[in-house]
Symmetry: C2
Subunit: 341 residues, 2 copies
């Protein structure tokens, strides 16, 4: 039976959820795709790295982490750095889940480039590379004759890129919009409900919606990276996040929200991209949305992408309150594409 | 170059829109799929039938219809009946778009069965066969080694069946719901807006939302057929439309709508299917939906399907105010699947 070897870069909540899913579905994959999927390397920032060409015991690795916060498998522990793993470990598919630097897309971009040089397939859950360097990476994958999938980078495992790629044949995307950042969505909702600022931030942090430094979300950088990724893939936009006309929710006051309400509207941070004179123009900004509109119903961690094409007009895909398992499924679904195509 | 020959059963608005799309994209299909798509038969109820193994001049056929309401191509006009065409004409793909008998699925089912007997691929835009006899037809297609696609039967070309089939690998559908009938959606909205009954019906007929005999929509038969089709395909339900617990909007009064409004709700005709003790239970009934809910924002001819799976939880797909071109694209997309797989 064919062995397919994975190198996992990053093993945080999403990486661990992916590993659990892989353990759970191991036998079914074998049955359906006729191959034995094994993890031969795991690179982390602070939990140690594991490398074993014979395959890592994933269940033990998960257990060790849960018990002690570190890997403990003496045989597989490795002093190789993340980049050394990318360049030298024995794997077929690189799965890029390292933390994102939203201003550069690094080091994920370098990892992916190095994997393509070795003619390895790549799956990324990291939107940085798609936002900052998609066209070049896609070309490198094509030259190397390998697969390059990135469904998870926008709306987790909810089909967006694969939806257009697999089910909207010959339709040309002319417009994309959506609500893509749950932190700002949560904050605007809580503000509208009259919750004081400090309490919103505290509750959001406790629930995991708000990061220690929330500026990336609040000022619209995260949303800008996501709409850039969407437009690069779906509309060949050739843009980077710094080209997005970006305005976050930092200046939105409770008074603004009340005034919008008096007009029957709510305020949402909306991403948009549209073709104008052959160029794709992208924006992220707070907009007043009529209460009866579909966008107004997108609350909490729910998100939505609307895609307009020449042949199918406008359709929308909504992901309802995802959890970490939905991120894991995004990576898993891309892995199944690698196995199946 | 490989020729792919189509037999079109039914040539109403959707069939003609499909024919126009085919003419428009003929060269691009050739380029992308390396085949020459030709129509070798068109069967209609009252406009005559065309049969020509060398290929029908589609643009002329469309023009003749537009000018005189009948086919006029002397060379291709045929006395063959629809079923004779299915059984004897020279084609590779049967495209079933005949009018639906919602209580039997006929004659579409017989057309499809006869095509499978000849080992021909089938695309149906007609939901009857999927609602009444899906499992058997699917098995017949597999036995014959041919393709059988039906994206258009629910929400036109908006990816629903193809979405699950192509982008949600290994995820098991556990629940399906949606708003799938635009006639009732339109009527409920107009009632809420205070439009008198007679005026609603007249306006709806003029706009093409309401059929001469609206009972199929108003009493929920159309919605029941659609949820049945969804559940048969996505959940292996093995049910027929008469097994759906069905309640239409025939008894909904303006008072009911006002009372719902006083509770912050709107009334929508909602389809649901869920697995209970190994069996799929389906229902169609008016429900009160909170105004902030995504379902409440689905107005006019917009429709929505929500799909819950074990691995991806709930996602929704919305089709925004489709026109006949979106129906045509559904058939077209299925044709591209036949050509590409």
């Amino acid at each position: 039976m064919k062995r397919v070897k994975l190198a996992l870069l990053g093993f945080g909540n999403a990486g661990q959820a992916f590993a659990r899913l892989l353990c759970e579905k191991h036998d079914k994959i074998k049955q359906k795709y006729g191959c034995e999927v094994e993890v031969t390397a795991i690179a982390t920032n602070s939990r140690g790295n594991l490398v074993s060409a014979d395959g890592i015991d994933l269940e033990k690795a998960l257990l060790d982490l849960a018990e002690s916060g570190r890997f403990k498998d003496e045989q597989s522990l490795s002093a190789m750095s993340t980049m050394e793993i990318v360049k030298n470990a024995d794997y077929d598919v690189l799965i890029e889940m390292t933390p994102l630097n939203i201003f550069t897309g690094q080091p994920a971009i370098s990892h992916i480039e190095a994997a393509f040089e070795r003619k390895k397939h790549v799956i990324t859950a990291n939107k940085g590379p798609i936002a900052w360097k998609f066209a070049e990476l896609k070309e490198a994958a094509e030259k190397a004759g390998v697969k390059f999938f990135y469904e998870t980078t926008v709306m987790d495992g909810t089909p967006v890129f694969n939806l257009v790629d697999k089910t909207l044949q010959m339709a040309e995307v002319t417009e994309v919009s959506g609500i893509l950042n749950s932190t700002t969505n949560f904050i605007l909702e809580e503000m509208a409900a009259g919750v004081p600022h400090e309490e919103i931030m505290e509750r959001g942090r406790r629930m995991g919606f708000i990061e220690a430094d929330p500026a990336m979300d609040i000022e619209g950088y995260d949303a800008a990276a996501k709409i850039t990724a969407l437009l690069n893939v779906l509309m060949d936009a050739h843009i980077t996040p710094d080209m997005v006309e970006r305005k976050g929710i930092e200046d939105i006051t409770v008074d603004d929200i009340r005034e919008a309400e008096s007009r029957g509207n709510v305020i949402k941070l909306v991403c948009r991209g549209v073709k104008e004179k052959g160029c794709v123009k992208a924006s992220v900004r707070p907009e007043e949305i009529p209460k009866g509109d579909m966008l107004a119903s997108v609350n909490s961690t729910t998100s939505v992408v609307s895609i307009t094409t020449d042949l199918m007009k406008k359709l929308s895909v909504i992901e309802h309150e995802p959890e970490i398992e939905q991120t894991a499924y995004g990576v898993f679904g891309d892995l199944l594409r690698v196995l199946g195509e």
